[in-house]
């Protein structure tokens, strides 16, 4: 029944928007309202627009986006938790003319994979890292992440993140920007059409850097929401993101072409 | 023919490289060889030893507790290895720095003043070659030509100019052994 209705509705003359061929037809496993879907789509659009379909190898992490390879219609590897930058390093070293990117969440990149992240960047591997920061472990059920804000409640910080016993949220993006191997570092978001456009531009620059064999990692943080983990509606979670996440994780470019941006 | 040798002394005396040259010499005359060092922290200034086996047959165990010949270059090694020489075997040592001399009567005991002779030749680094010469005098299991070939094989090319010096050190060792018993 659903299919028949869809067939009737989806006619060439009704078409105002189509998804890139680089996204599969598989239904996304992400919660409605989650930023991952948008981040996936704009990444794949950039790869298509730059003509990189046949040359790109992506690496999925462990976390909500562990199944990214089900949705991204390109060759992909699924890496052990936190190890995507090591996996990407090897692929790029073995196939220097291919385009290699990792797609990682905050737990994967900034907790268990801190060493791999730091050292891949420090070696200046010519890869793209897309880092989705929603301040929580979504897949395992809303536990505290390295990027969870102070006072923020999660299933392992049920009374709020306490600085004295749980430490501070980690600004890994600022941290890695200090490394000479970080060529392009930016923090973006996908909660409004305007931020989506900016993020896509940043992702395009990241891939362009790799195509141009510019020395170093291009690192795009995307501050995103987790409405189910934060226990909010999608609209509430975007509002919460604006009021709480963005003041601590301010948007904007940190480093372009290996140079810090003075604000 | 199978010759099972232990060379033992301080790290830095050239114990391991002496063993390596000996092993390479064996290869040069188509023999089977093995070279098994003690390894680890003791390499840094402590005692070092290496077991070298040269044989007409395939070498079985590279690890041994009894030897045909022991080449002993410090007191600790004397204490450790004097009793591991097979009856009828050889114990060659440099008396310099040895406070308790070997006492066994069922083995042949030979000394070589390796450090003294090397100092006389003006280069303490050839100490191990003097000792090697002494060993070859008592156990001529490899001939000198093959030792020189082995030496060239185990030295990087840039040190090949030192081969004549090493050769004269070996000869010096051959000429200066003292049979104790």
């Amino acid at each position: 029944m659903r299919d028949e209705i869809l067939k009737e509705l989806v006619q060439p003359d009704n078409l105002v928007y189509s998804k890139t061929e680089l996204m599969t037809d598989k239904t996304l496993s992400y919660c409605p309202g989650c930023g991952h879907g948008t981040a996936h789509r704009i990444t794949m659009e950039v790869i298509e627009e730059l003509g990189l379909w046949e040359d790109t190898i992506g690496i999925a992490p462990v976390g909500c986006s562990v199944l990214a390879y089900e949705f991204m219609n390109i060759d992909m590897q699924q890496a052990a938790h936190g190890r995507a930058p090591a996996v990407a390093t090897a692929i790029k070293r073995c196939w220097p003319d291919k385009i290699v990117f990792t797609y990682q969440g905050d737990g994967d990149l900034a907790a268990i994979g801190t060493a791999e992240t730091l050292h891949a960047i420090n070696r200046g591997e010519n890869i793209v890292i897309i880092f989705v920061n929603n301040g929580i472990y979504g897949m395992t059920g809303g536990q505290m992440a390295p990027t969870t804000l102070l006072g923020m409640k999660s299933s392992t910080s049920p009374y709020g993140r306490d600085e004295a016993t749980m430490g501070n949220p980690l600004k890994i993006t600022e941290l890695i920007s200090q490394l000479p191997g970080a060529y392009f570092v930016t923090r973006q978001a996908v909660h409004t059409p305007a931020t989506v456009r900016k993020t896509k531009k940043a992702i395009r620059m990241a891939f362009q850097n790799q195509m141009d064999k510019k020395g170093g990692v291009s690192f795009v943080e995307i501050v995103s929401n987790c409405n189910s983990g934060w226990k909010m509606t999608p609209v509430q979670s975007n509002q919460w993101l604006i009021e709480n996440m963005l003041p601590f994780y301010p948007l904007g470019d940190i480093k372009i072409n290996g140079e810090f941006i003075n604000k | 023919m199978t010759e099972e040798i232990i060379i033992a002394g301080f790290g830095g005396q050239g114990v391991l490289s002496m063993g390596k040259i000996l092993a390479y010499s064996g290869i040069m005359q188509d023999q089977e060889v093995s070279w098994m060092p003690s390894y680890g922290p003791e390499m840094r200034g402590g005692t070092a030893n290496v077991t070298v086996i040269i044989s007409d047959e395939k070498v079985s165990s590279p690890i041994l507790t009894e030897f045909d010949t022991a080449i002993i270059l410090n007191q600790q090694s004397m204490d450790k290895f004097e009793n591991s020489v097979k009856p009828g075997g050889y114990l060659l040592y440099d008396p310099n720095g040895i406070s308790r001399h070997p006492e066994r009567s069922d083995i042949k005991i030979i000394t070589i003043e390796g450090s003294k002779l090397a100092a006389e030749m003006g280069n303490s680094k050839i100490f191990n070659m003097v000792v090697l010469g002494a060993y070859l005098k008592i156990r001529p299991i490899v001939n000198l030509d093959n030792v020189i070939k082995g030496l060239k094989k185990s030295l990087p090319e840039r040190y090949h100019s030192l081969v004549p010096l090493n050769k004269s050190a070996i000869k010096k060792g051959m000429e200066n052994i003292v049979e104790v018993n």
């Binding site: 379909w53 046949e54 040359d55 790109t56 190898i57 690496i59 999925a60 562990v66 199944l67 390879y69 219609n73 390109i74 060759d75 992909m76 590897q77 699924q78 890496a79 052990a80 190890r83 090591a86 996996v87 990407a88 390093t89 090897a90 692929i91 070293r93 073995c94 196939w95 291919k98 060493a115 791999e116 730091l118 050292h119 | 390596k20 092993a23 390479y24 290869i27 089977e32 060889v33 093995s34 070279w35 098994m36 060092p37 390894y39 680890g40 922290p41 070498v59 079985s60 165990s61 590279p62 690890i63 041994l64 507790t65 009894e66 094989k153 185990s154």
Partner: protein
């Protein structure tokens, strides 16, 4: 005859890797195997063959680099020693789950924990029974000479690509650190990119429009799929057991007693055989060359011939369990081995045979 050299076991592995056309080595220093990466770095393999050699930030990173490279169809390897291999176990389980060909060298040292840097064979269980999580097996080769350290590199890659499975070369501090004569094989060229794609059509090298995308993963959230995947792996392991079991027999024809020993213990046992036979004791040696698959049938056959079997290994008794499983109580099976980095001597092995098997 190729190129005759006096080399350490560790150096022989490194040189053999360059000559075998290996594409990438990723490692992290640890005694007693650091000569492998040192030798590779000194040899500039990127100039000799184009091989990638990278010192990783950890053993964990190194094995995951191997995963990444292997997932693109390249011949990739790593090496470490016991504590480092423990760190690699997660990655090895992923390699096995994703069915990737790769070679892992373990130059075993004494444990548990940081243990010692001296030789040991106490990683047998870890290598042959799993080590990482899940139902998987590695093919495990046990070299007993520097020559085999060299020869087993290309053999390991042949097996890895034949079965799309990780292969471990299980060595120890004796074989890694000793020098022996090696007859080095002639070099073979690395596969071209086209050959890589042809040999490994599953590899992630960029999705062309004429095929579905290639995915390297060990994940399937649907347990019915995961069960099928496990069953497929089991069939593969049965195939490996049927086709790839390897042993060497020494002095077995007239043997009344038998040593079962691998790696350096097999060498020591050979000397013990000489000492025993000089005393009129007819003892032979069965040396498993593959530890997985284990040569159970061959051991069982020898149990019909001999009066007793001594498993000799530098461990508290690990492989002896497989000997007992194979022998099924037909004859007495005992274990002898020094532990914690102490190497047993041929005399000690002979004494153990006399006490535990002949006299016992």
């Amino acid at each position: 005859m190729g190129d005759l050299k006096l080399m350490k076991g560790n150096e022989a592995i490194a040189e053999a890797a360059i000559r075998a056309g290996v594409d990438a080595y990723f490692g992290y220093p640890i005694t007693p195997q650091s000569e492998i990466i040192e030798y590779l770095m000194a040899e500039k393999p990127h100039e000799r063959t184009g091989m990638v050699v990278l010192q990783a930030e950890s053993e964990v990173a190194a094995i995951n680099m191997v995963y990444g490279a292997a997932g693109t169809g390249k011949k990739a390897m790593t090496s470490s020693s016991s504590p480092g291999i423990s760190l690699k176990m997660e990655g090895i389980s992923y390699l096995a789950g994703a069915e990737l060909p790769a070679v892992i060298v373990n130059v075993v040292r004494g444990g548990p924990g940081l243990g010692t840097i001296q030789p040991s064979q106490a990683d047998y269980f870890q290598a042959t029974k799993g080590g990482g999580h899940g139902d998987y097996r590695m093919i495990v080769l046990a070299p007993a000479s520097v020559q085999e350290m060299s020869d087993f590199v290309s053999l390991a890659f042949d097996l890895a690509f034949k079965y799309n499975n990780p292969v471990m070369i299980l060595s120890d501090g004796v074989i890694g650190q000793m020098m022996e004569k090696v007859d080095l094989k002639d070099s073979v060229a690395r596969w071209t990119d086209e050959e890589v794609k042809e040999n490994s059509p599953w590899a992630t090298v960029g999705k062309t429009k004429d095929r579905e995308r290639n995915i390297i993963t060990s994940l399937d959230l649907d347990p019915s799929h995961q069960e099928k995947h496990n069953e497929k792996l089991l069939l593969k392991y049965a195939d490996i057991t049927k086709n790839e079991t390897r042993i060497e027999k020494i002095d077995c024809d007239d043997a009344e007693y038998l040593f079962v020993a691998y790696g350096s213990s097999a060498r020591i046992a050979q000397k013990a055989i000489q000492l025993a036979r000089a005393k009129g004791i007819k003892v032979g040696l069965l040396r498993p060359i593959t530890l997985y698959p284990y040569p159970s049938e061959m051991v069982a056959k020898m149990a019909d011939q001999v009066k007793g079997i001594l498993a000799v290994e530098m461990s508290a008794g690990q492989m002896v369990e497989d000997v007992r499983l194979a022998v099924e109580g037909k004859v007495k099976v005992e274990h002898y081995g020094r532990v914690g980095g102490i190497i047993h001597s041929p005399q000690e092995v002979l004494e153990a045979l006399e006490k535990k098997i002949i006299g016992g």
